[in-house]
Symmetry: C2
Subunit: 207 residues, 2 copies
């Protein structure tokens, strides 16, 4: 049943994962799913955990390379989400507590520990970086589901902005170039570098 849900998710995105669609995939009616899951939210939670469980954790944490390893893990997480359009909405809506998610969180903490990051900073950082990764993946999935390319987005942003009074927003006007520059990957990589640099330059939160 989980597999049927994941098939629908991969093929048509999270909004297409209706109880009826998953039931149809199993040649039965929607009521039958309630034998296995409590409700649709429960099904989506299970599906997210399955996606998390499929993520390659990479090599064991190496103190001399923890940063590169952490960034590489983040890219693989986004990749897994991109293969399952919209699933990133699930961890945004509630803290995931399944095995698959725990596995990824535990490895993330292990990498931060390999980097000698303070315990409390590490614990709070994982929330910040997860929010960033999930929000990025969710945004990407929306653009993909609308069939929007990056060029289209930039073009539309410029168009929408052109409709606003330029002199009312001088900074947006002046920075329109940088604002629409770079690919999604480049921007994500910049944000990730920024987050880790921030972690390394912020005192641990007071206990």
């Amino acid at each position: 049943m989980l597999e049927a849900g994941l098939r629908v998710l991969r093929a048509k995105g999270i909004d297409a994962v209706t109880m009826r669609a998953v039931a149809a995939e199993l040649d039965t009616g929607p009521a039958s799913l309630y034998v296995y899951v409590a409700n649709r939210k429960d099904l989506l939670d299970l599906m997210f955990d399955a996606v998390a469980a499929s993520i390659d954790l990479g090599p064991e944490p190496d103190p001399t390379q923890w940063r590169e390893q952490l960034e590489a893990l983040a890219y693989r997480i986004v990749e897994a989400m991109d293969d399952h359009p919209g699933i990133a909405r699930v961890p945004l809506a509630n803290v995931p507590t399944g095995q698959g998610a725990a596995r990824v969180a535990d490895r993330t903490l292990a990498l931060l520990r390999a980097g000698d990051v303070d315990d409390r900073s590490a614990a709070w950082f994982i929330d910040v970086v997860s929010l960033y990764i999930n929000a990025t993946a969710y945004e990407t999935s929306i653009y993909m589901s609308e069939g929007t390319t990056e060029d289209n987005i930039d073009e539309q942003i410029r168009d929408d902005f052109a409709r606003l009074a330029a002199d009312e927003f001088p900074n947006l006007t002046r920075l329109m170039g940088p604002l629409t520059s770079g690919t999604g990957e480049e921007r994500f990589a910049f944000g990730l570098r920024l987050l880790i640099n921030g972690l390394l330059n912020t005192p641990p939160p007071p206990a």
Copy 2:
């Protein structure tokens, strides 16, 4: 009509903002709304922009206080979102381009400029910090709509985790204390400090 929508939003959250509910607020049928908006997404976009327009931008950017001003602005944005449960999902789903949102973005850029931040860094940073603010606000709204308190969340995280094999997730086990410590506000403040410190310690992205 926008006002009717905002009333429903404030009272019952974004999921309750159905075409039927907004129409009922106006003593008419759902079909009548289509005279003013193209569809529900359009209505929600307009509502988000109205919320953004209501945000107090605070005093003019001061180069000696730009950082405190930027943080204070971020808090006010989250506050406005918290008063309109779930509206933060809108800017997560697509780049907002209305007047209200442009106003806030322009002020954010002005503050970064007052802090002498590189143009390209500022332009890319605004995406990162917006994602962080919106994702935080969205998460908060979900907990509130479920009537969940912070204590309940921590308790449930501990419970859920207790069901997992402790020895399989040694880092989560070891850090359970820090992981469930602090209030939502403290964690948000830490993340915001971290983001700004990251900005100040990351070279601008290459052109």
